[in-house]
Amino acid sequence: MDILFQAIIQGVLIGSTYGLIALSMGLIYSVSGITNFAHGDLMVLCMFGAYALFAILGLDPYISILLVAPTIAIATFVLYKYLIQPISSQQLMVIQLTLGLMFVIQNLLLMAYGGNFQRVPSVLDGDVMIVGDFAVIQSSLFVSFVTTWALAAVLFWLLGRTDFGRSVRAVHQNARAAALVGVNVRRTQLIVVSLSAVILAVSASLLVSGRAIHPSEGLHYTVVALMPFVLGGMSNLLSILISGTIIGVAETVGNVYLNGPLGFAVPYIVFILILIFRPQGLFGARS
């Protein structure tokens, strides 16, 4: 019972960050209809950015985010503006491009850092907190959880209450009408894509403390993000975040009760089961 309790708490904490990765995926999708299959690799790139900054300057990942986030935002901006926007009307080419990007990033990281696992030490390493009477939780997970929901709250406020947010929703709901009322659609897409990169970089720095990183993990994270992205209805950001939590819980609970590979499969099984019974996604109203 205590083990289950601990696993669920851990799942909720880690899952919220999975949700955050999916949310940044959903943001891009909602304004441009693009699913970025290199999303997980971009995040791993951010993680190795944190690693490099630790190796060279001895920076803590919670500090180096201040350098990683703007760098990846600018890189994504350039990528989107000069490579993706010119071909954005051809869906297949865009998919091809993001898949290609996935291999480029992965292989560059393998060339630079080899095929070993790396660790980025942070101030919270080894720090734990007790939840309830028995559950022992890594403090870094708790920080992830709080940061994720704080960031999500800011994002929801931005999207829900500001002119910029309304213009983002306008582009999502009807891009042509958005242009007609005076929204610079391309610029809005670029801002959102850069914002999404910042969120991705934050997820990376949250995940990097307390776990080993590997250059070829990108696809795993892409898939982990795709699940809540699909379950949450692709552009319904709050339900994406909640779906991330569900996937996180499935992962940790699966690992407690089933050893090895079977445990890792639990989130996928949960994902498929949900889709069988609710093909419209967890929170979708219609098919």
């Binding site: 309304r166 009807n174 042509r176 242009a179 007609l180 009322v181 929204v183």
Partner: protein, 234 residues
Amino acid sequence: MLELTGLYAGYGDLEVLRDVSLTIGQGEIVGLLGANNAGKTTLVNCISRIIPWQRGVCKFEGRDISRLAPHEVTECGISQVPEGRQLFPAMTVWENLMMGGFPGKARTQRAKTIEYVFGLFPRLLERRTQLAGTLSGGEQQMLAIGRALMSGPRLLVLDEPSLGLSPRFVQTIFEAMAALHREGLTILLVEQNLNVALKSVQRCYVLERGEVAISGRAEDMRHDPAVRKAYLGN
């Protein structure tokens, strides 16, 4: 006010408009008529720069707007009420109107303009917290016009505002349009219904298969058999 000359445009290899020229004077209400598929919507979308085009020149208040992006055209003072209304369905009436006042200059006037729109269409005030997608067709059309007015346009382009509406709402819409015109707004009205259009505009252009077939004063056209012929497309 608007001066369009020698416009050629289309979709990919499909040429839809050929050598279209059109002028609209300050304070005028001009009709753009033509049968289904004549190219009316294509033409207004060319003015709004929603459809990119290369050949031809479009000037607004003396300024060449031929190469602007769509949002820049709106900022210039041309606002389009698109065919089929094209609202933001998951936003409330109020949010749709706020979006209409998105351009920088309009934004400072939003509180005042929204009052004006609510005065023009009191129904929108009643429905201001309702999602646009749940409105009736007539209400949606009012909202589409209201949203277009929010940017404070000097030229309002209406693409088939009566499409699919009950006669009662058609009347409401046309009365509102007449009121806007009386207050000095310049209007380009796209209509398929010949009789409705000829009653409400001063001057008009008849498009036939992508070319201006006839143009002139509305009164002169009412009894012109050539106009009806252009409509039948033979």
